[in-house]
Symmetry: C2
Subunit: 160 residues, 2 copies
Amino acid sequence: MGNKDYFQDHMPENVCFGCGKNHDGLQIKSYWEGEESVCRWDSEEKYHGWANLLNGGILATLVDCHCMGTAIAHAYRLEERDMDSKPVYRYATGTLTVKYLQPTPNDITIELRAKVIEVKGRKTVMECRVFSDGIQTAQADVVAIRVFDSSESQSENPFK
Amino acid sequence: MGNKDYFQDHMPENVCFGCGKNHDGLQIKSYWEGEESVCRWDSEEKYHGWANLLNGGILATLVDCHCMGTAIAHAYRLEERDMDSKPVYRYATGTLTVKYLQPTPNDITIELRAKVIEVKGRKTVMECRVFSDGIQTAQADVVAIRVFDSSESQSENPFK
């Protein structure tokens, strides 16, 4: 587990509540497993919706951030270059759809598995499944949009 | 502002991260303004996605919890009874779709405005708009499902 190449470790400037260097945040980590990106995450009691069940919005946050990381990593992969190389790409969410199939326990490791379905210009279309102990509890469709490309910008940092 | 009848004040057992009595949560409050339900909420720095911008997952959490409150309040309203009366109804999210139209600043009060589009049996279909300083930044479609009805249950508390 300790040697995975996490997408988020290549985004040193990222402060995001879901996936950044944010000590008050969820701090998810995503990595490739073949053509799928995987995130395994352990919740805390405060993130429950009903007692012992994960809040639906936090589940959506996991999906959103895992898919934005996936869109970024996929773009570099398509160009056969590593995530620390230039130009720098960053994506933001266009549309997020989550279908809640059944309650997700809050005290069991949550696993997300996403894959890219289609790339159309600046848009990356993904699907993401959420599992608890091997049982699928949610299904999501996500569209990410490339909103930053350092080759078109004055800066190599999307935040400056 | 102080005299509003907030939906969430009629859910004493609610521990939800988004809308419950949860000191580590968002603690949103929703109320009727005619046929629309309204929520006004101030973020904290930790909930940013990019610096100074609201995290998209937290935005989805606001939408989700505001719409679940709206579905509950609307069900009681349809039956012309107050939210402390029996039977007790509770809803959970079936599907949540959020379209991010533009970035939402994290340091300006966020306003959500939802309305019920259709009720079909146990399903309540809503749309919800998100505003920052009067500018719409997101549009959402939400389906809520009645998952608890105390008249069909051994308990009057959905959590026991």
